[in-house]
């Protein structure tokens, strides 16, 4: 569904993405992991069109997306740290995003209801706590039922109950045949969620494997342990 072909990007002398090739199919929940500064966010931003790659091409559903904007109708993005105009209320913000996409009139309001955002509708964004802002971001990302969901550290800052709700929703959407791309540093919470893992290091894709293959290869039962074992192996060899 999403193909990256020889994507490279440099910021000045710093090469952030080096010849990245990826092929992501729908119906999977893919975890994008790697150390800080390995290019995860740049990869996501180039998919969203916030960063324009120097070389290579990105295709979504077979259509080239660089310098295009219409493909974003099929994307739901939840930023790591959301910040919204302080004087707008939650209700106004949600209405605004709806008005920005007038051609998508069918809404998925499950998260708005289950996070209890309806009772907070008239609260101003500036008065909200970090966790509530995360909930608004999540609700906005899922609102249009997009076939591709990009979640940047989705459960950071959420209370256990809400993060469970969100995880349940994510796995439901994966069963519905959507492509979910998650970046996270909390490996333990990915265990029951993801089906494929992309590991990046210094702008390169180290591996892109299904979880079963990874666990079988390292003979471990947890993703976090498997990755540590694999990394230790690459360092030693």
């Amino acid at each position: 569904m999403i193909q990256f072909e020889n994507v490279s990007k440099r910021f000045g002398s710093l090469e952030v993405l080096k010849n990245v090739n990826l092929d992501m199919a729908s119906g999977h929940c893919i975890a994008l992991i790697g150390p800080n500064g390995c290019g995860k966010t740049t990869l996501i931003k180039s998919l969203l069109g916030m960063v324009i790659p120097d070389e290579g091409s990105i295709h979504v559903n077979g259509a080239e997306i660089i310098h295009q904007h219409l493909h974003r109708a099929g994307l739901g993005y939840m930023p790591q740290i959301g910040k919204y105009p302080g004087n707008l209320t939650i209700g106004q913000l949600i209405d605004m995003v709806r008005h920005l996409r007038p051609d998508q009139p069918i809404y998925d309001e499950y998260l708005i209801d289950s996070f209890g955002l309806r009772t907070l509708q008239s609260k101003k964004m500036a008065t909200l706590s970090g966790g509530t802002i995360q909930k608004v971001s999540a609700a906005l990302a899922f609102l249009f039922n997009p076939p591709v969901l990009v979640l940047d550290e989705p459960t950071a800052g959420l209370d256990p109950l809400s993060s469970e709700t969100l995880k349940l929703k994510i796995s439901q959407e994966v069963i519905n045949g959507k492509l979910v791309l998650i970046t996270s540093h909390i490996l333990s919470e990915l265990d029951d969620l993801v089906s494929q893992i992309i590991f990046m290091q210094e702008g390169r894709i180290l591996f892109h494997k299904s979880v079963e293959a990874l666990l079988a290869e390292t003979k471990e039962s947890k993703i976090s342990k498997a990755i540590v074992t694999l990394l230790a192996k690459t360092v030693n060899s």
């Binding site: 904007h69 109708a73 993005y77 930023p79 105009p85 004087n87 008005h99 920005l100």
Partner: protein, 114 residues
């Protein structure tokens, strides 16, 4: 563009800084007109103050507003919108809101003391 414009204006109108700007302009023009017995002189001194104050405030306020909206612009960029429309929306929203503040602050006393 219009859709972004609407919410930018909704956000700015409730901003205390813009309200203070309009009130300061109103107080300033009111007192200048009351001080001078000749309204032509009043207009002249008001022009001198306004020539300095309005560009200064507009530039500083717009810079602060755009800087604080960085994450909001990120949200807009991830929606199916053209970048040109996003910038035009912000530009016209800011211009209209600041122009309205100026009209209310300096324009009303001008009409009143004419």
């Amino acid at each position: 563009m219009i859709r972004i414009l609407k919410y930018v204006i909704l956000d700015i109108i409730k901003n205390r800084l813009v309200l203070a700007y309009a009130i300061i302009l109103a107080v300033l023009s009111w007192s200048l007109f009351s001080l001078e017995d000749n309204s032509a002189k009043g207009v002249l001194s008001l022009t001198n103050v306004v020539l300095l104050l309005v560009p200064l405030f507009s530039v500083i306020f717009s810079t602060i507003y755009l800087y604080n909206s960085a994450e909001f612009i990120e949200l807009l960029v991830s929606q199916p919108l053209k970048r040109k429309d996003i910038w035009l929306g912000f530009y016209t929203g800011l211009s209209l809101a600041l122009a309205a503040a100026f009209m209310i602050g300096a324009g009303l006393p001008l009409l009143f003391f004419r």
